[in-house]
Subunit: 162 residues, 4 copies
Amino acid sequence: MLADYAAETAAGTTWQPKREDFREHVQEVFAASAATRLIGASLGRIAPGHVEVLLPCHERITQQHGFVHGGVLGMIADAAAALSALTVAAPGTIGVTVEYKINLLEAAFGELIIARGRLIRPGQAVSIAAADLYSVSASGREQMVATSLFTLASRTRRRRRA
Amino acid sequence: MLADYAAETAAGTTWQPKREDFREHVQEVFAASAATRLIGASLGRIAPGHVEVLLPCHERITQQHGFVHGGVLGMIADAAAALSALTVAAPGTIGVTVEYKINLLEAAFGELIIARGRLIRPGQAVSIAAADLYSVSASGREQMVATSLFTLASRTRRRRRA
Amino acid sequence: MLADYAAETAAGTTWQPKREDFREHVQEVFAASAATRLIGASLGRIAPGHVEVLLPCHERITQQHGFVHGGVLGMIADAAAALSALTVAAPGTIGVTVEYKINLLEAAFGELIIARGRLIRPGQAVSIAAADLYSVSASGREQMVATSLFTLASRTRRRRRA
Amino acid sequence: MLADYAAETAAGTTWQPKREDFREHVQEVFAASAATRLIGASLGRIAPGHVEVLLPCHERITQQHGFVHGGVLGMIADAAAALSALTVAAPGTIGVTVEYKINLLEAAFGELIIARGRLIRPGQAVSIAAADLYSVSASGREQMVATSLFTLASRTRRRRRA
């Protein structure tokens, strides 16, 4: 019985998108973010309440010890968590990250980092999401390197004046 | 009396560096981090228990709404907090970020973002630090845009094999 | 200059209450909380954006090593932070804690624990507050034992049906 | 594939206790905590890396709106997370909570609150654990009311002098 709750919290809940083109919408929003492009991140799988962000490891995103910078891990965690909430958001609303907390479990390096975002609780005003991060070695072995928790707020659309 | 505690927690505590060249050491560690260079960050003031990281605002570090990406704010917060602990670290030890939490208070843009790291509690195994982030407009007006809290661990030096 | 920001973030900002009886309102809300009564907490100073919660140390609130339980510290931090936001809230709204993060810096014991809540950023929908906790010895010496950060949401009044 | 990671992070990992009497040890440590007794909490299931803490809902642990106090939720989350790490700790070491972050998802009330702690990453110096909290209604329906993330440090045994 102890194991059962994993299903509900992480994978078992079935989220219902509020727009048919939620995948395209996630791709559009991700593509519009210059910062995630700067670090070389791309999108992986997109499903209701779940979004993967992929980050190939390269020298430009490392910290002083040669591992992927903890702040860079926070960036892809943020993207994955916020986009997982966006998959079920009502059209016309945007998600704003209110706060996040990330635990860095292991020095991160390898071929690729995968951030797996998952929606925990959608809400009209405030949504909660999480992202777990894994490093993937050349041989395909995954190791969890970070876990994070996000509070997101729904806002009506706003854009900074140029 | 309510106001008094600000002095102790933030500014009043006098930290004692354990090496004379702590400023040079902070500069070296910062310079060795490729990721902070990628986003264009530089060092500001360095004092015992306090380090500023400066980030000029530019298009490449924005998210989809044209503001500085929350993950980028996390990156400079991480740098400022970790380096503020490094100012008083014993020679031969390195600081590793165990976890952090950041609250994003305002959409961040302007000329410059300043992350002001401050050591809260140094420890042999675990240190606690904070970083407050401010946007600075062209006219020099500062606005607090984020606040964050970090848990750092001290480790003996380790470097990833090439 | 590094020290200057302490003033703004912690003590220098002048918050403006939206009701004259904000002190009485804070006292009423605090008195209505059975859980804080159970652990023996009481109110200290109340000022706009600042509320102190006092907790005499006694055996019933300790954990297995004889120190004040970390969860109890979280309780008084929550009370102090939420009430500090309440001092400037509009009449008719209530504050709900969305999330908090607390760093436990030292084993907490002594005569008294003081939680000093301070409002960081009020907002219509979401407010950010902090609480720093100090143990006070019989001789009056204060030691910081915890620091915490809170996200609060404003809601219209709601009460659980009996 | 998106669903697969739930197994690894939450339930699939098999933790290996380092002492045969880990259940008795968890019970002893829990029984020695006066604060959790004060709020009426008890232990549920104990398995390697997993501990449940049960809290019957009653008036004395409510906040001003009649729901279970958020700080009380933090207390049982702390107990469940720390004890889940204790199930696999080496004899002679104790776990100290360094910090935690908790998201309160729903107003909590009902017959019972269950905090399900799970170990995420054990470590010699620092361990990471989580706790998810559920309210259980009289009819047995569970609803997730909070989720939390903990950083724990291993220390050699210490007891406060009387």
